[in-house]
Subunit: 487 residues, 2 copies
């Protein structure tokens, strides 16, 4: 069972797209239905929708051209980077245009003295670090997909990653954005100097999931690379003990660079795959701990972590002795999602947040929900942030199983909210969780967000149907604050 | 010369305010013209305007009542905390209502385990730290006015302070906000868990200077207090050498908790005042350096700083040996603005930002501009952030001198922008710098901000005339994005 959007969108005749061929080079315009299928989903295979056209834009001017063309014709458009997003932020809109940004991947400027770089939107996350690591810097947010995902995609979803525990999310590392607004005008927000006056538009734009226009340039913060890095693996025969170790490490005021847990099923999938990291296959949980910073003081933190792990009955403790061993320990974590391809044909990666102190009980609930709905769930997660990723492996060709996957997914997110948490830590709402927004927000709070969206995109052309249900046809939307505007 | 706003506002007959007396207790409603004069300005004495009425609100319900009353009658209102703001963010609007929040100063909740506190808007900044310091925590942003200024005022202006170099501005320490929107409805944004999904409304609201409604509750982040703090004073007979010392400390990757510079005139004013800190009165500049964090590694940083200062010909170096000596070194910095009361009757505190690497040349420009306009300028500033505070002392009763002060102020901010900087680091735009916004933003960029403001406050009742020129009477405002909305 695949959900196809039933929301009304302005229909555009296929002939209309042929207009684009007048000025978009043939090798960068996709109109053929079989080729369009490649773009029917991103990293969320639960929702599929072929677009009306795809334009592989190679410059800001081309983005402006496509957006203006769409604006004039009231055709919705969806910006797209690498398509690694997990909440369907790049799911096409029926008959809409996909604006593909992968040809715009130049690093335009590097200024390590002032600690920033200016990059095009399709620049791959990892390439930013590669461009500056010789000078002792890196780009801190490191999603699991960092070898593929793009900076503008990270901006759209406010992406996180293992090291965001210490270094903060994408929003903490974006200093400026150039965006083509939904009517085709260009705004330049922020810049290399932090905190410009006026409203914090950079902060507002990060995480808007493409609903505020198309990003064409990003100024990112460069972070000095740590003098020293130490990585440890603690092995447990009980998941609860791994969770308690995490809670105790943070309670003692230690701020590791990363605190990641993998559960038994994840460990087994990883160890059976090319991402084999040497995790003990009979363990109930492994905990990866990374310290970074100055060498001074690390021995003390290491000793504390060792003591806390042993007090929580860790059955094995390993320390990476060099960079190669460190990479080896991380290989399993970074490859975990790939390894799950071994379990079944499809994977639904959930993204819930709970207070760290409630990880243990929420995980127990997650396993219970999976049993109840007879679905296969594995867990690999940013334990230090309380950011769970329950992963449900399933066969998407089986509609009955898919329905159980969706029911289990909803219950898991409801459990996170009940625990005082949230329905998204780092993947965004996309199309996946549109219907779950009322779990967290009252109607007025959602309305306030929609009003802001309408201020930027009154026609709802830029990535409609994401985050909030589309409001185009609803005459009541916005009425509270809009009815009194003297126009 | 004092500027009184000439902007058209809806006139409300004084009789209309008498309506408030029906439900606002007499001791919390100010209508008497001589008492209203107390509220005619905040920390920016250049702009004065008596309000039509002041309500000393004691609860969220009273705030809602006043806002609704204003909304129904189209009367503008201005939220006000301690009135310590330096850009005129709390300057009254002609015949508008001032909503005073100083009676709402309870600390509602402290949760050190999850590192947050919930406070009422009028809570004094310093009180938050006092409430949690015994448990080893503090509230990090520390404006010079922290013994008087309120948390909601800090939220409105996104306030900074010496330690924001390491710990970030107010926006980095606010997790949730309860706000009475301009139509009287209540929105609760964010909460103790960081990064809720959907648009980052908390980030958007911080720094909106009261233009998005009245804050009635704030959830702030609590920061673990450092294990160790070390404070140093380096004395120079040349300001340029002090600036180069700062640039070199940061270039070597040291991140002090604070890097503050005071110039000769500031030192002399401080040493002649009750804030006497023992700074050498013949020095051209003193640099305060504070390190904090774990004891381990501090000796190395201290040695590096000592070497860099000596290489830049510091003529004296002092280290505080204990908490009392540390307080003594800070006393002059914290009291600098108070001490300037000795120089003349009025003080115009400017707030410009430049890249750290251009501090030296910009300061030279500042002194040149002061000479040209024959005004007295002293400088005390957050050197690590490149955040300058040129302070012009003057006699506000002399209109000719006041005109020179304003001309010099404008030239100084223009110099900051030319150096690649900004017109505000931490004080906001308020009424002071409304006319300078075009130095930084193009018309479209300002329009985008105004459109967002109109989405939240279509009648422009909440603190109108701040940040942007008031747009109420301008039929063209917002037309680009608004004209096509199907209403």
């Amino acid at each position: 069972m695949v959900f196809r959007s039933a929301r009304a969108q302005p229909a555009a005749a296929a002939a209309e797209y042929e207009e684009l061929a007048r000025w978009v080079p043939a090798d960068r315009l996709i109109l053929d239905p079989s080729e369009l299928r490649v773009y029917e989903c991103d990293g969320l295979p639960l929702h599929k929708e072929p677009p009306g056209a795809v334009v592989l834009c190679a410059s800001r001017e081309e983005v402006i051209g496509v957006v203006r063309w769409c604006h004039e014709r009231r055709i919705p458009f969806v910006p797209r980077g690498a398509g690694t997003g997990l909440s369907g932020g790049a799911t096409p809109v029926p008959r809409g245009v996909v604006i593909d940004l992968n040809r715009m991947r130049r690093i335009l400027k590097v200024d390590v003295e002032n600690r920033y770089a200016v990059v095009e939107p399709g620049t791959i996350n990892m390439r930013v670090t590669q461009a500056v690591e010789a000078q002792g810097y890196h780009y801190a947010p490191d999603p699991s997909s960092q070898k593929a995902c793009t900076i503008a995609g990270n901006v759209a979803e406010n992406s996180g990653g293992p090291h965001c525990l210490k270094y903060g999310m994408t929003t903490d590392h974006v200093l400026g954005i150039e965006v083509v607004l939904p009517d085709g005008e260009v705004a330049r927000l922020g810049g290399p100097l932090a905190e410009p006056p006026g409203y914090d538009l950079v902060g507002l734009f990060v995480g808007t999931e493409g609903t505020f226009g198309v990003v064409t340039e990003v100024t990112v913060r460069l972070t000095p690379s740590p003098q020293s890095v130490r990585t440890y693996l603690a092995v447990f025969d009980d998941m609860s003990l791994a969770c308690r170790t995490v809670a105790e490490i943070t309670r003692q005021g230690i701020l590791p660079a990363a605190l990641e847990i993998l559960d038994r099923l994840t460990i087994q999938a990883v160890e059976a795959s090319v991402f084999r990291a040497g995790y003990p296959q009979d363990a109930a949980a492994v905990l990866l701990v990374e310290l970074d910073g100055f060498e001074a003081g690390m021995d003390e933190d290491e000793e504390k972590i060792r003591r806390i792990a042993l007090e929580n009955r860790a059955i094995e403790l390993k320390a990476a002795r060099d960079a190669a061993q460190r990479m080896q320990l991380w290989k399993g974590r970074k490859g975990a999602f790939g390894a799950m391809g071994r379990i079944n044909t499809d994977l639904y990666v959930l993204d819930g947040v709970v207070p760290r102190t409630r990880l243990e009980e929420t995980l127990n609930e997650v396993y219970g929900i999976a049993r109840k709905h007879r679905v296969t769930v594995s867990n690999v997660f940013h334990a230090g942030d309380g950011n769970l990723h329950p992963n449900i492996s399933y066969d998407g060709r089986d509609p009955e199983e898919t329905a159980r996957v969706l029911a289990a997914g909803r219950e898991i997110l409801e459990a996170c909210v009940r625990a005082g948490g949230s329905i998204s830590g780092e993947h965004g709402i996309g199309v996946e969780k549109v219907d779950f927004m009322p779990l967290l927000f009252g109607p007025d709070d959602i309305q306030l967000q929609k009003d802001l969206r309408l201020a930027v995109d009154p026609l709802e052309l830029s990535n409609p149907g994401k985050i909030f249900p589309d409001s185009r046809s609803c005459i009541e939307v916005g009425k509270r604050r809009w009815k009194e505007i003297p126009l």
